[in-house]
């Protein structure tokens, strides 16, 4: 009996020891898994609070606020000063800009990207005035039209396009002008203002697209042309002509048309086609080509004339024609030859250029250096536009979407 008790006692101790060892092992196993999960969670940011975007690393909000104009002072209350010849109007990203006439004064109007707020800039004095306080977050593209009209294009959470078209009111509330408008829906591929309304390229149910003219609010649409296929970048000249340029890719032949009584070809089967048409009856065009390995730019003064190859290598999207009778255009030209496949990479934001400005004599087919931008600014010009008097060029820097203004006359 005592021997049995001793045996049972040993077995009991052994069982308890095994149980304790097992529990200890389980504890350490669980602890290790918890540590792994913690590392993963920390890596994903689950262990930190909502970021305030303030502190020693800078404040985005402050940066936006301070981003409006480098110099001169940006508010209407400040003493007006003449801006420098090349002036960074806004360091904060903008969605689009254009010149409009306000009370017979030329004004550079732009839409701020993060808020959709509309600002007016007096290019002579540098005074910046905020016009609206309607919040339209994350505006990817914007354009301004006559009659205080605005297009602001955003992206929904599901990735669909939204196209808000609105106009500024005639009164002010708390110092701001009400902005009212409507959303034209997700089918709008591209949109421009014309004299009375808008012209847009929209998806069709069959997968093609149609060119439509409508009122600002999208009412009274009239279909100008239906395409079974073909994806275009749309623009409108001050003479009322609608320009369609097939979206380009390096080395890929592209076509461009003016829409009038039918489609009038402006350029046919040009590899990597970009095109800047002059607003006049002469229909001069700057034709950019990207053959996949290099860029070239040519000018065709009239439809029947032969193209004259210019000695500057750039894309026509970096060019703007001077309004009026002059055959003068201004082009931003990369100071170093871009790597092969430039257009494809440029549109994907994987490559940028550092440009300087050249002036082009479209009649003679010659070009000269016009304005050299400081290399430390590293400006990759996109969406240049010129005021009606031919005094200023406004453009965006494709590197950071900042807005710049260049005065033509020193």
């Amino acid at each position: 009996m005592p021997r049995h008790e001793t045996t049972f006692r040993y077995i009991g101790f052994a069982a308890i020891s095994l149980l304790l060892i097992g529990l200890a092992g389980w504890y350490f196993f669980i602890s290790r898994q918890t540590a792994n999960l913690g590392e993963v969670s920390e890596a994903r940011g689950f262990a930190v609070g909502v970021p305030s975007f303030t502190g020693s690393r800078g404040s985005t909000s402050e940066n936006i606020a301070s981003g409006f104009a480098d110099a001169p002072p940006a508010t209407a209350e400040a003493e007006p000063q003449r801006p420098p010849r090349l002036w960074r109007v806004s360091t904060a990203p903008v969605a689009g800009a254009g010149f409009v006439s306000v009370s017979s004064t030329t004004v550079l109007r732009y839409v701020e990207r993060s808020t959709g707020h509309v600002f007016d800039v007096d290019p002579m004095t540098g005074v910046v005035t905020r016009r609206t306080n309607r919040l339209i977050p994350k505006v990817y593209e914007a354009s301004v039209g006559k009659g205080d009209t605005i297009v602001a294009r955003t992206i929904t959470d599901a990735g669909a396009r939204e196209t808000f078209v609105g106009s500024l009111g005639t009164t002010t509330v708390d110092g701001f002008t009400p902005l009212t408008g409507t959303d034209l829906g997700p089918s709008i591929r591209d949109i421009v203002f014309d004299s009375d309304g808008v012209v847009f390229l929209a998806d069709t149910a069959s997968g093609g697209s149609q060119l439509v003219r409508a009122e600002i609010d999208g009412s009274e649409p009239s279909v100008l042309r239906v395409f079974g296929a073909g994806d275009f970048n749309l623009s409108l000249l001050t003479d009322g002509r609608i320009i369609l340029v097939e979206k380009p890719s390096s080395g890929m032949p592209g076509y461009a048309y003016a829409v009038g009584n039918g489609l009038v070809p402006l350029a046919r089967a040009v590899p990597g086609l970009t095109l800047a048409a002059r607003a006049s009856s002469s229909t001069a065009v700057l034709i950019g080509a990207d053959n996949g390995s290099s860029l070239s730019l040519s000018v065709r003064p009239t439809p029947d004339a032969a193209s004259l190859t210019l000695d500057i290598d750039t894309v026509a999207d970096k060019c703007v024609w001077m309004p009026g009778l002059s055959f003068t255009a201004y082009c931003a030209v990369p100071q170093e030859d871009p790597a092969p496949g430039f257009l494809t990479n440029w549109h994907r934001g994987t490559v940028h250029t550092t440009d300087s400005w050249y002036v082009v004599d479209g009649g003679a087919g010659t070009s000269d250096s016009f304005f050299e931008m400081k290399s430390d600014d590293a400006i990759d010009v996109e969406r240049p536009t010129m005021d009606g008097g031919g005094n200023f060029i406004a453009f965006m820097n494709a590197r950071d979407k900042s807005l710049w203004l260049l005065r033509i006359i020193e």
Binding site: G45, P51, T60, G228, A229, D231, R268, T350
Partner: protein, 345 residues
């Protein structure tokens, strides 16, 4: 005396031949031997330089005097002159080309052709993915569907364009005709297969058969590639500034969004896609609602991290895209006005 006799015979011969050649310019007898006339390009556009080449099995052209006429006016002449060039007029013009060849033994051959300049453009687009407001061409990824549109300009001498409904279109993919019909100016067809290239072409002919044109487009299959962009809380996805190689940021938290260019998808967050994210080789689960977007929080860490992404699709077995980026979280500074991604230092 002999020389006088020879001169007299010469004058007589000229007197006999000149009326014949003049007659040949305005109307041929129809009894001439037919000649073959090739035109390059086959479908000239307005202003093109057109090369004509005449050939024949019945007439020895190398030993013939050949005269070329354009709209009744002589443009070239020579022994054995089997090729000549003519500038096509504008759209809406017609240039009648006549060639007459006469052998030394008097055997005559002739043929005619008419240049009616036409223009046919072939536009196309693929249904592959590219982000909203992308201003470049969306190329054909794997399994892409191609939509093509022919823009035809057939202009009659009175200046009127022939309407689309009076034109017969024939569509080809390679050498295979895939569609045809009156007024069928656009088609939808499968795109090139993986690593393949297809040539889509269209021929157009007016119903009366007078006007012809052709255009073609070479479409390459491209591999889907991923670009990574910062998804900024205020500005949205910075599509204009892709993260390239090693990118430096001064933010403490960075949200990035992957864009699978030219993948056969409608949206990058569709459920058929599988995004496999890894941070410094540690696999992390993606956000189920937006697996294309990923947030990195530094927790005061400064230094490089490696982001890896592999993208596959259960709906498209050929879709396989990968990418690796290094993001260096910097010490201090402000967001704007500093070199961020890919900007020269």
């Amino acid at each position: 005396m002999a020389s006088h006799t020879g001169k007299a015979w010469g004058i007589l011969l000229c007197a006999l031949l000149v009326p014949f050649l003049s007659y040949a310019q305005v109307s041929l007898t129809g009894l001439e031997r037919p000649l073959d006339l090739a035109m390059t390009p086959e479908y000239p556009a307005g202003g093109d330089t057109v090369t004509f080449t005449v050939s024949s099995y019945g007439v020895d052209l190398d030993r013939s005097a050949i005269v070329w006429y354009a709209n009744g006016k002589e443009i070239a002449r020579g022994n054995g002159l089997t090729t000549t060039t003519v500038a096509a007029g504008k759209l809406g013009t017609a240039t009648e080309i006549t060639v007459i060849a006469e052998e030394q033994d008097g055997l005559i051959g002739s043929t005619q052709a008419t240049i009616r300049p036409t223009e046919v453009d072939l536009l196309w687009e693929a249904d592959s993915y590219s982000p909203p407001y992308f201003r470049g061409r969306t190329l054909a990824g794997t399994n892409a569907t191609i939509r093509a549109q022919a823009i035809v300009r057939f202009v009659r001498p009175d200046g009127n364009a022939i309407p689309e409904g009076d034109i017969i279109y024939s569509w080809y993919k390679g050498t295979k005709r895939i569609a045809s019909g009156r007024g069928k100016s656009s088609i939808t067809a499968p795109g090139p297969t993986l690593f393949g290239t297809d040539t889509f072409s269209v021929t157009a002919e007016s119903v009366d058969g007078l006007y012809h044109g052709r255009a073609s487009a070479r479409i390459d299959n491209v591999d889907s590639t991923i670009e990574l962009y910062e998804n900024h809380p205020l500005f949205g996805v910075l599509y204009h500034r892709a993260l390239i190689g090693s990118a430096t940021t001064l933010e403490t938290e960075l949200k990035v969004t992957a864009v699978p260019y030219f993948a056969h998808i409608i949206a990058p967050h569709e459920t058929s896609l599988a995004y496999e994210w890894a941070l410094d080789s540690t696999a992390l689960a993606a956000d189920p609602d937006h697996p294309e977007t990923f947030t990195i929080t530094t927790n005061n860490y400064t230094g490089p991290v490696t982001v890896e992404l592999s993208l596959t699709s259960v709906a498209d077995l050929f879709l396989k895209a990968t990418g690796t980026w290094e993001i260096v979280f910097g010490e201090s500074g402000s967001f704007f006005g500093n070199d961020l991604f890919g900007r020269p230092q």
